[in-house]
């Protein structure tokens, strides 16, 4: 792997080493068995969503005796607010978070990776320090701050911080990537009289699409899955996100309508699952790089 770059690993191209055939079969058998264990709970949920109520429990089979999709309609329209509202709220928060994180973190990362200014190393160390800081320390004063601003019960506390580069992980990831872009490029541009802003906008960002996409995707998934933030800041059911909606759905349906609970749970996972399906490479490279470049 070249330094500080989200290169695609060559692992898929590597030809299998010579080894006895029975050994290969043994490894595959172990991996397939493990795969089944990994996937079974998810498939059980999915099949539960189209099973008859009585059939969900008491049978290990994943295939329903009859396919019944009515649970999806029951779940979607079942509460006092339709699930569509929750999906919309989550989507708005997640998309705004993506935009905020990508803009604010790339600005900071560009400064740390390329510009020289007084105190840079000091600020960079502080930024890295915030990576380790558990959010519990800032949680309560932040809540009080947003309460005083009158932002509690709106989505602002969930979105505004994302425009202020609060997630140091993304800055760190981008700094690593920016450092891998040849310096000659922006030095040449600087000779031609390019301002730092133009270099950032016209050279760094276009060359950094892979890392920006990685940050955007993780940002989306983490915001979509976030339960704690909405739990604290949102109390009106009309502003609920999917995660909160699902939780209140669990409480309100109690132990009556399992298949519609499973239906809504399955639906809530779809965006993350689709992103995973399409951007697997970026996600895996992103997480691997973050782990190796310290």
């Amino acid at each position: 792997m070249t330094d500080a770059k989200l290169t695609h690993f060559a692992e898929d191209m590597k030809p299998p080493r010579e080894r006895p055939w029975f050994f290969s079969i043994l490894i595959h058998a172990a991996l397939i068995a493990a795969s089944i264990v990994m996937l079974y709970p998810l498939l059980w949920m999915l099949s539960g969503s189209i099973k008859d109520q009585n059939e969900i429990f008491g049978t290990a089979s994943l295939i329903p005796s009859q396919f019944d999709f009515s649970s999806y309609a029951r779940g979607w329209f079942g509460g006092q607010v339709t699930f569509g509202k929750f999906v919309w709220n989550s989507a708005v928060i997640a998309v705004l978070s993506v935009i905020g994180n990508v803009i604010s973190c790339s600005l900071a990362a560009y400064a740390f990776a390329r510009l020289n200014f007084w105190g840079k190393n000091f600020w960079f160390a502080l930024m890295l320090g915030t990576l380790m800081l558990p959010y519990h320390v800032t949680l309560i004063p932040q809540y009080i701050l947003f309460l005083k601003l009158g932002w509690v019960k709106t989505m602002l506390p969930l979105v505004a911080p994302k425009f202020l580069a609060v997630d140091a992980f993304f800055i760190f990831l981008m700094v690593q990537f920016f450092r891998g872009i040849p310096r000659e490029l922006d030095e040449a541009a600087m000779m031609d009289g390019c301002s730092p802003w133009r270099i950032y906008w016209r050279i760094m960002l276009p060359l950094s699409l892979p890392v920006l996409a990685t940050a955007a995707i993780f940002s989306f998934i983490w915001t979509w899955d976030d339960f704690f933030g909405p739990l604290i800041y949102l109390s009106d059911i009309n502003t609920y996100t999917v995660q909160l909606g699902l939780r209140s759905f669990v409480d309100s349906t109690g132990s009556s309508d399992w298949s519609s609970l499973f239906a809504m749970s399955s639906l809530s996972l779809i965006p993350v699952f689709l992103i995973f399906l399409f951007f697997q490479r970026l996600l895996i490279d992103g997480i691997a790089t973050a782990g190796l470049k310290r």
């Binding site: 840079k120 558990p134 399955s266 782990g291």
Partner: protein, 303 residues
């Protein structure tokens, strides 16, 4: 011909301004949402602030109560430590084992890797916690399988305080995918000529593993261990959803973060909860510092 434009050294302002302009959003975030609140939280931890009345300084009272007269602090800390100590090593062991299996130039690697990574990606969502609650329900799938396979009548895992925490530990282990990917990338970085040299020398597989693979992988093991430990200390959603926000049955799943949440947003004891938050920070810091100190003895950096 002389070049007319004489070089003019840029002023200090011109040299520093762009950097600070680019960092402006981060500065606002850092001072307004991280450093400022952290200082405020430290101050609040010495007060009795409850959101309604202005805070009164109570000196060390919160900390003294936590240390001497708070059963829930003790029990939630025990639950959390048990969760960390059980889930992290097992999770890392699975991650390493599967990464080693996958690193053998196996066919279908992308498919396996995807399957093992998927649960970690979905892991923090409410749907997975809901699913887990149903899986370990009295008539859930785990007990159904136990009945078919061994004729055992399984307990009601979630509502039995003896077992409820284990279901959360199993959930954490199920999500071994992201450390696994980091292990895989780490294994890729071990130079193959080391292996070739060792096998030419006739070293056994076990010897190669313990003398080459494992030592060269220690930086990655260390990174995964630190990150996973911090994450485990911060776990919240599964315990909240599975216990319906109570941490029950009888506080068996009352994670530290859940207790902190109850104090802050259930009873609005903001001062007390701030003190709890700082204790958590100190404990995480001690764990991290200890890891870094111990790293000297077992982590090998090639330099």
């Amino acid at each position: 011909m002389r070049v007319e434009t004489a070089y003019k050294a840029p002023s200090a302002f011109a040299r520093n301004a762009p950097g600070y302009l680019f960092l402006l959003p981060w500065f606002i975030g850092f001072f307004g949402l991280t450093l400022g609140p952290a200082i405020a939280s430290l101050y609040l931890s010495f007060t009795d602030y409850n959101l309604l009345q202005s805070p009164n300084l109570v000196s060390m009272e919160n900390y003294v109560r936590i240390a001497t007269a708070d059963d829930k602090f003790l029990s939630s800390m025990k639950v959390t430590l048990f969760y960390v100590v059980c889930s992290v090593p097992l999770k890392l062991a699975f991650a390493l084992l599967v990464a080693l299996l996958l690193n053998r130039g196996i066919k279908g690697l992308p498919v396996y890797r995807a399957i093992f990574y998927l649960p970690s990606l979905l892991g923090s969502s409410v749907a997975i916690a809901v699913l887990w609650r149903q899986i370990f329900d009295a008539d859930g799938i785990v007990n159904t399988l136990l009945w078919y396979a061994f004729g055992i009548n399984g307990p009601s895992w979630i509502s039995n305080p003896d077992y409820s925490l284990y279901t959360l530990i199993i959930l954490a282990i199920w999500q071994f995918g992201s450390p696994m990917i980091i292990f895989l990338a780490g294994l890729r970085q071990i130079p193959t000529d080391l292996y070739e040299a060792a096998s030419l020398d006739g070293a056994s597989k076990a010897r190669i593993f313990f003398k080459i693979t494992l030592p060269l992988l220690t930086p990655v093991i260390f990174f995964n261990a630190v990150v996973q430990t911090i994450d485990a200390f911060k776990a919240f959603t599964p315990a909240y959803v599975i216990s319906s926000g109570t941490g029950g049955p009888i506080d068996s799943t009352l994670f530290y973060t859940l207790y902190l949440y109850q104090e802050a947003f259930g009873y609005f004891r903001m001062g007390y909860a701030s003190a709890l938050a700082w204790i958590l920070v100190i404990i995480i810091a001690i764990f991290t510092a200890f890891s870094f100190l111990s790293a000297r003895y077992w982590v090998h950096y090639d330099d």
